[in-house]
C-alpha cells in the first residue's frame, strides 16, 4: 500500500506545475472579463477543476440562472463520479469515511490519474500529500494570473499547453504497450473521441458529455470482451 505523505507530495509536484499555468490563464481570463480577483481565487479554491470553472465563468458572465449553473456543472463534471467510483476501489480499507469526505474534494483528472497509476492500494496520507501541492498551484496560479499585469510570453504558454496531456500519455502508454487488452480499450476510446470531435451532429455534444460517453463505451466494451479474473490486476 502507498501511504507515505512524502511520496504523495513528490508525485504532486508535476501536477502543481501544470496546474499553475492552466489556472494562470483562468485568473487572467476571469479578471479580464470583469470578475474581482478575490472571486476568481475563491472559485479556484472551492472547485479545483478546469473545464467546470471555465464553463462556470461563462454562466456567471451571461447572468444565467442558478439552475443552469447546477446543470452545467453536473454535465461537465459527471466524469468525476466515474473516477471517484474507480478510486474508491483503489483505496485501502484503512481509508475511513471522514478521510474520503476530505479526499473527494481533491479528486481531479490528474490526481485521479496519478493515484490510479500506483501499484496496489493507496492510503489517505499518500492522497493528502498528492492533493496539497496541486491545490496550492491551482489557487496560486489563479491569483498570479488575476493580478499579473504583464502576461507570460505567448510562446511559453503555448508550450505549457501540452504539459498535462504529456502526463496523461505517460500514464496510458506503458500499460497499453504491455497489455493488449488495455491497448484495445485505448484505441476504442481514441476512435470514439475523434468521432465526437469531428463528425457532424456528434460534435454538438459538449466536452463533458463526450468524455463520459467515450469512457462508458470504451471501458464497457473492454469489460465485456476482456473480463479480468480475480488477482490478475496490476
Amino acid at each position: 500500500m502507498h501511504n507515505n505523505i512524502k511520496e504523495g507530495l513528490k508525485d504532486g509536484i508535476p501536477i502543481a506545475l501544470g496546474y499553475f499555468s492552466v489556472s494562470f490563464t483562468f485568473g487572467m481570463l476571469a479578471v479580464n472579463s470583469g470578475m474581482a480577483p478575490l472571486h476568481a481565487v475563491l472559485i479556484s479554491l472551492f472547485n479545483l477543476t478546469s473545464a467546470g470553472q471555465f464553463a462556470g465563468l461563462n454562466v456567471i458572465l451571461s447572468g444565467a440562472s442558478l439552475l443552469e449553473m447546477a446543470l452545467t456543472q453536473l454535465v461537465i463534471n459527471m466524469r468525476y463520479a466515474l473516477m471517484s467510483l474507480s478510486l474508491s476501489q483503489k483505496f485501502d480499507s484503512c481509508v475511513k469515511t471522514r478521510h474520503r469526505l476530505l479526499i473527494a474534494y481533491g479528486n481531479t483528472d490528474e490526481i485521479f490519474a496519478v493515484a490510479s497509476s500506483k501499484r496496489g492500494s493507496v492510503g489517505q496520507y499518500y492522497m493528502y500529500g498528492l492533493i496539497l501541492l496541486p491545490v496550492l498551484g491551482w489557487v496560486g496560479g489563479t491569483l498570479t494570473g488575476a493580478i499579473a499585469s504583464t502576461v507570460m510570453p505567448a510562446f511559453v504558454r503555448s508550450a505549457l499547453g501540452v504539459a498535462l496531456y504529456g502526463m496523461f500519455i505517460a500514464i496510458v502508454v506503458p500499460p497499453a504497450k504491455k497489455e493488449s487488452t488495455v491497448r484495445t480499450v485505448v484505441f476504442i476510446a481514441l476512435a470514439l473521441s475523434s468521432m465526437f470531435y469531428y463528425l457532424p451532429v456528434l460534435k454538438q455534444v459538449s466536452g463533458g458529455f463526450m468524455i463520459i460517453i467515450c469512457t462508458l463505451l470504451a471501458a464497457g466494451i473492454g469489460a465485456v470482451l476482456f473480463p479480468i479474473k480475480e488477482g490478475e490486476e496490476a
Binding site: S116, Y165, A189
Partner: protein
C-alpha cells in the same frame, strides 16, 4: 449573487466527487464491474487527451510534435515529469522552426 453562483458551482462539483467515494466503499466482487473500473482510467485519459491535445498550442503542427514526443518517451517508460517536459520541448522547438519557414 456572485457568492450564490460560487456556492452552487462548488456544491455540485463536490457532491459528484464525494458521493461515489463514500457510498460505495465495499470492494466490488462482480468481475465485469471490476474490469470496467479497471479500464476506466485508460479510456477516460485517452478520450480527454485526443484529439484535444492537437488544439492545446498555437498550432496543430507543434501540438502534433508534442504528442509524438510524449508517445515516444512514454514508450521508453520515462517518468511523468520527463514525458511532460519532452512534450513541451517538442512544441517549443517545432514552433521556432515554423517561424523560420
Amino acid at each position: 449573487m456572485i457568492y450564490a453562483y460560487i456556492f452552487v458551482m462548488a456544491g455540485v462539483t463536490y457532491l459528484i466527487r464525494m458521493l461515489p467515494l463514500t457510498l460505495i466503499q465495499k470492494k466490488i466482487s462482480n468481475v465485469y464491474i471490476r474490469s470496467f473500473l479497471y479500464y476506466v482510467p485508460y479510456a477516460c485519459l485517452t478520450a480527454m487527451t485526443f484529439p484535444a491535445i492537437l488544439y492545446a498550442t498555437a498550432s496543430p503542427i507543434s501540438a502534433f510534435a508534442g504528442l509524438a514526443a510524449a508517445i515516444f518517451f512514454a514508450m521508453k517508460e520515462k517518468s511523468l515529469v520527463m514525458v511532460a517536459c519532452f512534450s513541451c520541448i517538442g512544441v517549443f522547438i517545432t514552433e521556432r522552426i515554423l517561424e523560420l519557414i
